[in-house]
Symmetry: C2
Subunit: 257 residues, 2 copies
């Protein structure tokens, strides 16, 4: 399994991915799921991948080969981020189609984000079917892979106005919650921050399992959450419990009557 | 969708369920998913249901009819909680089999918990296939329906030693997280606490959407989580960001080289 997320806020973009790849829990390995393409001062893109490893590797290889061979359409010559998403969707469908059969599919999803020239930074989620969605100010983030465990914290913390450092931290906490509940998501975690209008990358970090900082976040977050929970108004004071009737109490609660 | 959970701790059992039923978001209705069966001083059981509404209603009706007609095996005469789980699994498979076809299934899951005489309180999750699993001291809770959003908070708070009131509160917070991230889980929420060796029910509460207490939990939890997040060590101080190479930076991070 995989968990990748990317966030589009006023100050720029944040990308975060885990590196656990598995085909059954006894065949787990570590692969980066974050790929960067760009030309300083002109364009910058970051791609995150989830799903079948053969498909995602095939797509990334095709992207690189197209750039090297100067193909008609490449990430280095598309004019809009939306065209980049379209292009990746097309490659993905092609690679999947080469191996899939009715009873066997090799689906993969991608997040691609970045900025081309003076356009706004954009973020897209490319579905296995090749189509894509983008973010909005109400929904500034996109996730692929094991998305549910880490969603509540994003919903609580992130808005379009959140500064990049805080977004990166929320992404790490979201990663931590996911890792805790799904063994097949694991470190190293990679974070890439793209600052709006930078048209290049400056801020990348890879957190290994032994990262002191990761461990410190975990510890403080665990403590704080337990403390927060203990501050909640005790349930015993909230109301009087209802006494249920005796005997064959198929009548309590009401619908079981 | 549905979210139900039940917890087995040293002091007893806690059951919690939402009441949203839907077949598409334009056909949402409210049904209780909590059903109680018992005989004061002899046995007490609580059932939670998720999945196809026709199946779950069919199973609950069969359970009641069997009791009324004095069938050979009923929830009122089984000797062990495990037999109750087996019985419910059998009913579920039978009801599903009546209507299913290869391209159409009407699956349902159940949680059944309770106590019979001097035995320990037990909790079981009955799968659509009719088989079941129980809790352990490491995994004291069971969930059915939309289980992922609400799992991280349970993992953090609940152990076998957690008092019943605190377990009930954790269940409500877990419900709240789930509701926030999945529109098709919604109030009223029902909570039933079973105190070990009580062999009867005393503590039931139904929280409506307008519940003052629910709103207060939500508010304090939101505030506390945001405050907790702001107490985390700032990411900027943790390490120096890596500077990426210029040019076509397909080489950063490493694997995209």
């Amino acid at each position: 399994m995989t968990y990748c997320l990317a966030v589009n806020v006023n100050d720029g973009l944040v990308f975060c991915s885990d590196s656990r790849t598995n085909a059954g829990v006894d065949m787990a390995s570590t692969y980066s799921k974050m790929f960067c393409f760009g030309k300083e001062g002109e364009r910058q893109m970051v791609i995150l991948s989830a799903g079948n490893l053969a498909t995602t590797q095939g797509v990334i290889q095709r992207i690189k080969r197209d750039i090297k061979q100067g193909a008609d359409v490449t990430l280095m010559n598309v004019s809009h981020m939306e065209d980049a998403a379209d292009y990746i969707g097309g490659l993905s469908v092609a690679v999947q189609g080469k191996y899939s059969s009715p009873d066997r599919s090799f689906e993969a999803s991608f997040i691609v984000g970045g900025q081309i020239g003076g356009e706004d930074p954009r973020l897209f989620l490319v579905y296995p079917q090749g189509n894509h969605i983008t973010t909005s100010s109400d929904t500034p983030y996109l996730q692929i892979g094991e998305t549910k465990y880490g969603k509540p914290i994003l919903d609580r913390i992130i808005t379009s106005a959140t500064p990049l450092d805080k977004v990166a931290l929320a992404a790490l906490v979201s990663m931590d919650s996911t890792m805790r509940s799904n063994l097949t998501v694991g470190p190293p975690f990679e974070i890439q921050i793209y600052e709006r209008d930078r048209l290049g990358l400056r801020r990348y970090h890879r957190f290994d399992a032994e990262s002191e900082y990761l461990r410190e976040i975990k510890r403080v977050w665990d403590e704080s959450l337990n403390a927060a929970f203990n501050r909640l108004p005790p349930i015993a004071w909230a109301f009087s419990w209802d006494e249920r009737a005796d005997g064959e109490n198929a009548a309590s609660p009401p619908q079981a009557g």
